[in-house]
């Protein structure tokens, strides 16, 4: 276990290094000059030249990379030229929002996905299975942005129950905060619930046809005990891993959902930055979320060991 952990930890740094190389080169190779985008309507050549210098765009690519990496190692992720703020400050500003949205979404997803998966595996090829599958398929096959706009039209415009968008800090007004978060969280959770349901179902099916569940059944154990104690415990392993991975994905930004509901989290920050060629922001935020994602992966692996006793020995 500890050697495994050490091995895992040793892979983190090279992975992160590849992340920085990947995102840095992708970003910097994008067509379009960030200085021109930032120079606004007038496109004053003096301003463009000034901005290019300020962003070190007059330097060759590897030099810029080393420059940036040097900053990262000293905890400086650079500055957003568009917003004139350090990237670290932007991350600190958006992180609570993104975490809250991700957590609510994952809770919704778990609450729908796992029970639905169990039910559909237990009642395989009967109507609860079909129903759960239909719900999951609906979640999987609806584009996020579309569902978001539909929800806004129904709950905000038609019924006037929920605000169409606009984030309120929970410390300012918890009710307003939850009212603003529930629709985007549902949109996100709904899609993840479908993934979780499908995986729970297939893991359950696999486990339930395994020898030791058959043994448990043969021993005459109550079906409920078999399902919940024996089968579920083993089936949950991949599901937990998946849940952690999905949480990591959510942290890196619910790109379109945040766009539709104008939730000021990471997703909106990154997409706007990609289109505005605000390099420092994209690089900084992706590096941060990638680190978070890798950390969550590690935690998921630990959970894997804890839940699955057979792997512990």
């Amino acid at each position: 276990m500890s050697t495994y952990l050490a091995r895992r930890l040793a892979t983190i740094l090279p992975t992160l290094l590849f992340v920085t190389i990947l995102i840095f080169s992708l970003q910097q190779l994008l067509p379009g000059d960030p200085a021109k985008v930032l120079a606004g309507e007038e496109q004053d050549p003096a301003v463009i030249a000034y901005l290019q210098k300020k962003m070190h765009l007059d330097q060759p690519l590897p030099v810029r990379y080393v420059y940036w990496l040097g900053g990262v190692l000293t905890g400086d992720l650079g500055e957003s030229l568009r917003m004139q703020k350090p990237v670290t400050a932007l991350i600190a500003e958006k992180l609570p929002v993104t975490i809250e949205l991700a957590l609510i979404a994952i809770v919704i997803a778990l609450a729908i996905g796992i029970p639905a998966g169990i039910v559909s595996a237990v009642y395989k090829n009967r109507w609860p299975d079909y129903l759960a599958n239909a719900v999951a398929l609906w979640g999987l096959s609806t584009p996020n942005f579309w569902l978001g706009i539909m929800l806004i039209l129904f709950f905000s415009v038609q019924l006037g129950w929920l605000p169409a968008s606009g984030y309120v800090s929970p410390f300012e007004d918890l009710r307003a905060n939850l009212a603003a978060m529930i629709m985007p969280a549902f949109v996100l959770g709904n899609a993840i619930a479908a993934v979780l349901m499908r995986h729970t179902r297939s893991a359950m099916l696999q486990v339930m046809s395994s020898d030791y569940v058959r043994t448990a059944r043969a021993k005459g154990l109550n079906e409920r005990v078999v399902v919940l104690k024996h089968a579920l415990r083993n089936a949950l392993t991949p599901v937990v891993t998946l849940g952690a991975l999905e949480l990591g994905t959510l942290l890196s930004g619910a790109v379109l959902t945040e766009q539709v509901f104008t939730i000021p989290g990471f997703g909106k920050l990154i997409v706007d930055a990609v289109f505005n060629r605000d390099y420092a922001v994209v690089q900084g935020v992706v590096l941060f979320t990638a680190t978070a994602y890798i950390a969550l992966n590690l935690l998921a692996d630990l959970a894997y060991f804890l839940i699955n006793p057979r792997l512990r020995g």
Binding site: L256, V271, F275, T291, Y293
Partner: protein
């Protein structure tokens, strides 16, 4: 999995044929297959079944509700929505199938190499895969699509590349489980060359989970294309795709809901049928099912 691998050795009926037979006994899978075939036919026969030219505009028929002349209504510049939905099948099917083919074509060989070779190629591939997986899928796709320039082809490439790590990882994991099995050891002991072992004995074991993953990935890719279109990076006008139709329709949801209903419904149906089919395949390919 081991059972299936032994089945892979030549015997009376090929496992593929048996899986197909099992598949044909599943109504939900058959419904899925039916709709997939239906959409494929629609895509192929679009020029003959489409009631109008999908690009023909009519200034006097802008955003008209469904009628006998236009069953699905007309869009913001007076084009027939039914015609565009029918022709749009091509783009969405392509977006799903081509991008996943790209992912498989890249991911499976790389995964085989990593899993089979081990040591430093594995370490290198695994780190790059981890790095790609750690980078958000849509961000990666957006950056790639922006890099390549907005078009359907480039969106498919971007989605395909972004989804590759999933297939690398899946293949690699599968290979690692199988390569220590007795019959692979036996094949190795018999002096079979490595590429032959990899392709003949290991690859077949990767196929069943790959098919399940691929079906899910096709569904995800269709939605990814719609998402890129939403950001203006997918199929470009005036060519129709369901994603780009939804993208335009979002501006008129209140005034012209039909512009959004039909492409949305089509995406739903296509994704649904791939999922039904994939589910059926998963069950059919699992030999323990019959037990």
């Amino acid at each position: 999995m081991a059972t299936l691998a032994i089945d892979a050795l030549p015997r009376e009926a090929s496992p593929g044929a048996r899986a197909l037979r099992r598949l044909s006994r599943r109504p939900s899978a058959m419904v899925g297959l039916f709709f997939v075939v239906f959409f494929v036919l629609l895509a192929i026969l679009a020029p003959w079944v489409s009631p109008y030219d999908p690009l023909a505009t009519s200034w006097s028929a802008i955003r008209k509700a469904p009628s006998w002349a236009h069953w699905f209504g007309t869009d913001e510049i007076g084009r027939d929505v039914l015609a565009r939905v029918i022709w749009g099948t091509r783009a969405s099917l392509l977006a799903g199938v081509v991008s996943v083919s790209i992912s498989i074509a890249l991911g499976v060989p790389i995964g085989l190499l990593a899993g089979y070779a081990g040591r430093w190629p594995d370490a290198l591939i695994s780190r790059v895969t981890d790095a790609m997986l750690a980078t958000p899928f849509l961000i990666l796709a957006i950056a790639l699509a922006a890099f390549l320039g907005p078009s359907l082809t480039n969106a498919m490439i971007a989605i395909g590349i972004s989804a590759t790590p999933i297939f690398i990882r899946l293949t690699r994991a599968q290979v690692q489980t199988v390569k220590v099995e007795d019959y692979v050891e036996a094949a190795r002991a018999l002096g079979n060359p490595h590429p032959r072992i990899a392709v003949r004995h290991i690859l077949p074991n990767v196929v069943p989970p790959l098919i399940v993953q691929a079906t899910l990935a096709i569904a995800a890719a269709v939605i990814a294309e719609a998402s890129l279109s939403f950001l203006g990076l997918g199929q470009q006008p005036p060519a129709p795709s369901w994603g780009s139709m939804l993208n335009t329709a979002k501006n008129y949801v209140e005034q012209a809901p039909w512009m959004a209903v039909w492409p949305g419904l089509s995406i739903f149906l296509l994704v649904l049928s791939f999922n039904l089919l994939g589910d059926g395949m998963r069950d059919a390919l699992d030999p323990r099912e019959g037990v």
